[in-house]
């Protein structure tokens, strides 16, 4: 971990009609840092994650990701930026049901001009790392919850992102599988130096992070 900031959100607010879900939150994540965003359900964690990752635009405030101010970017510019710099892991895996494990991993590469063999090679390498080398042709429906999440992690890594955004990545898994997924994320952070911003409501999981950010009612409290 070094001291340069990979992600910073300044004075971020998000309103849906009259309801202000995020209220003036400021967040910074350094390169290679593992930060957990914790708080009770409905406190605005996922919305803040969406604002910081460029999935959603803030009502007020600015986000700087990888040295680029992204709040004024167009939707397509943001998509391209996410493809090259950001990885996502979701609670409900969000794999495409009709694509095999390796094709799901290679999904961000589909719009890029490269051969299918190259896509498959890169996806298979990552699935091997996730110990899923024997499951590359399986559809998501044939995978267990833990395997699905490992496929999702491999997908998040396919473009060598600078930062991974993980939204309750163990929320749909039993405790032992959840622990295995956390081990993978920790390993990624420690060995690959990837910055991780993870949303969770479980304090136990958050203990493995370098730093905790606590939220309550849309505000950062510590």
């Amino acid at each position: 971990m070094n001291n340069s900031t990979i992600l910073s959100g300044t004075d971020l607010s998000k309103k849906y009609g009259d309801l202000e879900v995020v209220k003036g939150a400021s967040v910074a994540v350094k390169e290679g840092e593992f930060v957990c965003l914790v708080g009770k359900s409905g406190c605005g964690k996922t919305t803040l994650l969406s604002l910081l990752s460029g999935l959603e635009k803030p009502t007020r405030g600015k986000v700087n990701l990888g040295g680029r101010e992204i709040t004024s970017s167009s939707e397509d510019e943001l998509a391209l930026f996410r493809r090259d710099n950001v990885g996502f892991i979701f609670q409900s895996f969000n794999l495409i049901p009709t694509l095999s494990a390796w094709e799901n991993v290679a999904l961000p590469l589909f719009p890029l001009k490269m051969t299918n063999e190259e896509r498959r090679r890169r996806a298979t390498e990552l699935l091997d790392k996730m110990e899923l080398g024997h499951r590359i042709e399986h559809l998501p429906s044939a995978l267990s919850g833990g395997e699905k999440q490992r496929v999702a992690i491999a997908r998040a890594l396919i473009n060598n992102p600078k930062i991974i955004f993980a939204d309750e990545p163990t929320g749909n898994l039993d405790s032992s599988t959840g622990e295995a997924i956390m081990n993978i994320l920790n390993k990624l952070h420690q060995e690959e130096g990837v910055a991780i911003l993870m949303v969770t409501h479980e304090d136990e999981l958050a203990k493995t992070a370098n730093r905790l950010i606590r939220m309550k009612d849309g505000e950062i409290i510590s």
């Binding site: 969406s50 397509d76 996410r82 009709t98 997908r155």
Partner: protein, 416 residues
């Protein structure tokens, strides 16, 4: 567009894909069948004239003879002067003319329908050459006769017998099977045109009703440029006067009485409805399919697919599905067309063109040309239907894709 993703989506969502394809294919099949039927009726309407190598037949009605004795003209076919024939021949769009002279000959103990025909002409009743069943066709410059086979059988006329028509002797050199020929320009006895002209010119009864000189005729068979048939018909009426009967394929089409035959507008309206139904079916099923995939599209956008990438993928899926629907619709239509081609159609022959005197037994009966409806799917209709399917696919996929690509990933990816 990623072909692998596209094919897997269509394959693994088989039920959804099949529903879309089936729905649209029915609309496409309907469109093809309606147009094939319309075309078949149009082609059927050409048959009676095509069988005598003509596109137009012309005759002129006149007065009924006072006494039915000797050679007379049927009241539906009186003299067309040589000068009038020459004028018609010079009309732009006329490619050739065949002539005939139809006579009713009332001998003391027999009535004949006599047709004087040109011996060598690819237009008109000289085409009967191919319907000779026994003996030979008429020779050059000889007074000889061909007799219709059924008529000869009925009256015991044999080959090489000599028949007397209006006191003139004609050896029978052959029999023809008129049932194989067209229903128009048929007779009991066929004579060389020159012989029929002599019979007409020497008949006082005929001359008193419709003055006649050798070289005049009373039946014209005209080959014309297809696109000029309608305009030529009215020009010929202008030359021959309002008593002229000018028969074109359209005349037969009107007599067919089918909705398809009656009106281009009906076919056009029915085709439009079929297209609209096809588009609505495609739009509805694909809108449902795409709405079900909102979360998937959210994932694509989250991992870096641009709106254009998403639209192009959905549009390609839609085009492929609609293309397959077009192919299936075409196959359904081909099967339906094959089935419909066994349907018989009776084309009424206008009474003016019936050679039989209406006062003879059966003479007043409506006669028909019966044929199998020539239903087939022409390649240009098939090509149009497939192209239309692809366009429907492109438009539907493009519109729905543009709409759905606007969703925000954060809205659809929130965990439940």
């Amino acid at each position: 567009m990623n072909l692998r993703y596209l094919m897997k989506e269509l394959y693994y969502q088989r039920r959804r894909t099949l529903m879309s394809i089936l729905g649209l294919s029915i609309g496409i099949a309907l469109l093809i069948v309606l147009n094939a039927l319309s075309l078949a009726y149009r082609q059927a309407a050409h048959v009676p004239l095509r069988e005598i190598g003509a596109d137009i037949t012309v005759q002129r009605s006149g007065d009924v003879p006072k006494d039915l004795a000797g050679a007379v003209f049927p009241c539906s076919a009186v003299t067309i002067r040589k000068e009038e024939v020459d004028k018609i021949q010079k009309l732009p769009g006329v490619r050739g003319i065949g002539t005939g002279l139809l006579l009713w000959v009332f001998d003391p103990n027999r009535a004949w329908i006599v047709l004087g025909i040109e011996k060598e002409n690819s237009i008109g009743p000289s085409l009967l050459r191919s319907s000779v069943t026994e003996g030979r066709f008429l020779g050059d410059g000889k007074p000889e006769a061909l007799v219709e086979q059924a008529y000869a059988r009925q009256f015991g006329i044999r080959l090489n017998d000599v028949i007397s028509v209006a006191d003139k002797k004609f050896p029978v050199v052959g029999f023809v099977d008129a049932s194989r020929a067209a229903k128009i320009a048929v007779a009991n006895v066929y004579l060389p045109l020159k012989e029929a002209e002599d019979l007409a010119a020497s008949s006082k009864e005929l001359q008193s009703v419709s003055p006649y000189a050798p070289g005049d005729v009373n039946l014209l068979f005209i080959k014309a440029d297809q696109e000029k048939i309608t305009s030529l018909a009215s020009e010929m009426k202008g030359i021959l006067g309002n008593k002229a009967t000018v028969a074109t394929p359209d005349s037969f089409l009107k007599l067919l009485g089918s909705l398809f035959a009656l009106s281009d507008k009906f076919t056009l309206a029915a085709s439009l409805i079929a297209i609209i139904v096809a588009v609505l079916i495609a739009f509805k099923t694909m809108a449902g399919n795409i709405a079900e995939r909102a979360r998937e599209i959210g994932v694509l956008k989250a991992v870096g697919w641009t709106n254009r990438n998403v639209v192009s993928q959905l549009m390609s899926e839609s085009v492929i599905q609609c293309f397959m629907a077009g192919i299936l619709g075409l196959l359904i239509a081909l099967v339906a067309a094959f089935g419909l081609s066994f349907m018989k159609v009776n084309i009424p022959i206008p009474w003016e063109m019936s050679p039989t005197p209406h006062f003879l037994p059966g003479g007043g009966d409506q006669i028909f040309k019966t044929l199998r409806l020539p239903v087939h799917v022409p390649w240009n209709l098939a090509f149009f239907a497939i192209l239309l399917s692809i366009i429907i696919g492109g438009l539907t996929g493009g519109l729905l894709g543009r709409h759905i690509s606007k969703i925000k990933p954060s809205e659809v990816l929130r965990h439940e």
